[in-house]
């Protein structure tokens, strides 16, 4: 180690303190815990010599439980919640030598596409502080973009790692459903949620995956599939790799500058030896409607646990004559923000008697068709290794610009939600800037449990481009 863990920790904490007034990226800065960890690593260099993340400062989205360190999900409901246990990803990161320096701001209970739905206020984009960083892992993406930490953890239910990574100009990977344990992740939509890394470089994402991936007895949905060494997969050789391009899907609704950056990125991949293959994803245009029926149904069930009894907020001012039901309903009304209420309402409705078949069952059937489209792309005549799309159809928009129209906000997730519905891995890598110097992201979606191929293609692209070297104004 050329620099002590304590030095790295001090630098990260100082940087967090200096950027936070403008970015609002952190809910909690873990000064004491971080210095203790760093000192312990510095005190025993032999033990940590070969640890893959020894002394690396890491920021963690505030919906991932950290023992003894406040974990709020950016909700008034959990404003003072201190978990009695660590998420498995935290245990694994710390065993690999990482130092958790901060909990990052996010959309409340990871619901949103702009990081404006936080009880702590919106996160601001380091490239333009009048704009959103994307959501819901906006604080994690902003923290990496602004050089506070080299690596952060996010979670992704419908694009919440990839979309903010794209809008902040960093790399973000949503692993295959089941690849990374979700024990200790505050549940949003259980058939869609995944934890994954955000970093400046693909290699750092790969190294982090080596640490956090793999089965976990505490999460029955975690998969026992073998975990390859993701870092050694980064050979730079993508000769013959087949990249599917669903051109028809991209014909409408994509910002012209985003589109230009995307197609230029495809040229770079082709020049490196990849083959571009036109594919159809006939049901992908229905993914948004499908996603918002499935995810809200699951969220309405998951968030039923917040009742003011075992932990979290409880409304006050009750009379003896008030019923338990009144306490529940007032507690939830006072502590959930508008977007969370909206989604609980939608989810409750689509699961209710009389509407279940028309909405929830229909959405589950659509999910099958969306999944089959990908299976056809990977295993059919096209036989692609990855599917390329822009991560977001638009660059970062202005704070407040879409806040009053939930449907418009949901449409920002058009290219990201299908990977969650199909359980597939997907990575976003920076692929250029708009004329207003706003980052654009290239998304690659891959076969189940084949993150290695995605990361190899993304890293090969990174070798031929220099987007990652560009620094946002707030990093000065």
């Amino acid at each position: 180690m050329t620099r002590s863990a304590t030095d790295a920790c001090r630098d990260a904490l100082a940087r967090a303190a200096s950027v936070n007034p403008s970015l609002n990226a952190f809910n909690t800065i873990a000064t004491e815990r971080a210095f203790e960890r760093a000192a312990a690593i510095d005190a025993d260099p032999d033990r940590w010599q070969n640890a893959p993340l020894a002394g690396i400062p890491i920021a963690v989205k505030d919906n991932i439980c950290t023992r003894g360190l406040r974990t709020t999900a950016s909700s008034r409901m959990l404003h003072h919640y201190v978990p009695p246990y660590d998420a498995t990803v935290i245990t694994r990161l710390e065993a690999a030598g990482a130092v958790i320096v901060a909990k990052t701001n996010c959309d409340e209970f990871a619901m949103g596409s702009s990081n404006e739905n936080s009880a702590f206020g919106p996160v601001r984009n380091p490239w333009d502080v009048t704009r959103v960083p994307g959501g819901t892992s906006g604080g994690s993406a902003a923290a990496v973009a602004a050089n506070v930490v080299p690596i952060a953890l996010g979670s992704d239910t419908g694009g919440s790692i990839r979309q903010p990574s794209a809008l902040c100009g960093v790399v973000g990977l949503k692993p295959t459903y089941g690849r990374v344990s979700r024990y200790g992740l505050i549940a949003h939509a259980s058939s869609l949620d995944q934890i994954g890394p955000i970093a400046k470089r693909v290699r750092d994402v790969a190294v982090t995956m080596n640490v956090i991936a793999g089965s976990d007895a505490a999460d029955a949905t975690s998969a026992p599939d073998a975990v390859p060494d993701f870092a050694t997969a980064l050979t730079g050789d993508i000769t013959g790799a087949r990249i599917g391009v669903p051109r028809r899907l991209l014909e409408h609704g994509v910002d012209a500058e985003v589109s230009r950056a995307f197609f230029t990125a495809l040229d770079v991949l082709r020049a490196r030896g990849a083959a571009l293959v036109d594919i159809e994803l006939p049901h992908a245009k229905y993914a948004i409607a499908t996603y918002y029926l499935v995810s809200t149904a699951e969220a309405s069930a998951n968030l039923a646990r917040y009742d003011g009894v075992r932990y979290g907020y409880r409304a006050s001012g009750f009379e003896v004559r008030d019923s338990l039901q009144t306490m529940y309903a007032k507690t939830r009304a006072e502590a959930f923000g508008p977007e969370v209420k909206r989604r609980i309402m939608l989810g409750t409705y689509v699961l209710s008697a009389g509407y279940y078949d028309a909405y929830y069952l229909k959405a589950q059937q659509m999910r099958t068709l969306i999944l089959r489209d990908y299976v056809e792309a990977f295993e059919g005549a096209a036989a692609v290794d990855a599917v390329a799309m822009p991560t977001s159809p638009i660059p970062a928009f202005r704070i407040g610009e879409r806040a009053d129209d939930p449907l418009q906000m949901y449409l920002a997730d058009v290219f990201t939600v299908s990977a969650n519905l199909a359980g597939l891995p997907a990575v976003s890598v920076p692929c250029g800037f708009t004329s207003a110097t706003l980052p654009v992201g290239l998304q690659l979606t891959g076969r189940r449990f084949d993150e290695a191929t995605l990361l190899r293609i993304a890293e090969a692209y990174e070798r031929d481009t220099s987007w990652w070297t560009h620094q946002p104004p707030t990093s000065a």
Binding site: A217, A289, L324, A333, R342, Y359, A363, Q364, T368, L369
Partner: protein
């Protein structure tokens, strides 16, 4: 199907969801959720007859484990974050449930 916005009984749904919403919230959500449901109507264009539903992309492996007691959160730890608890007696406190 009828206009989804018209059939959306927002008060009934709020009651089911244990949310004590204000009149303004009810009005706003009725309109916004009506918009989302109207948008979701596009799914009805697709014939899904005979298509099996996908609830989850599950693991293909069994997840059974031996039925052996393992350490877990102790009682004090479980009660520590409660908004109202009697730690000595070991219970959560809630408003009156019966009469």
């Amino acid at each position: 199907m009828a206009d989804p916005a018209a059939q959306f009984d927002v008060s009934a749904v709020a009651a089911l969801a244990n949310l004590d919403l204000t009149a303004d919230e009810l009005r706003l959500f009725a309109q916004q959720l009506g918009d989302v449901l109207a948008y979701a109507q596009e799914l009805q264009q697709i014939d899904t007859t005979g298509v099996p539903p996908t609830a989850s992309i599950g693991t293909r492996h069994g997840v059974d484990r031996p039925d052996v007691t393992q350490p877990s959160l102790d009682r004090d730890g479980a009660l520590a974050a409660a908004p109202d608890a009697n730690v000595d007696e070991g219970f959560f406190k809630v408003p009156r449930v019966i009469g």
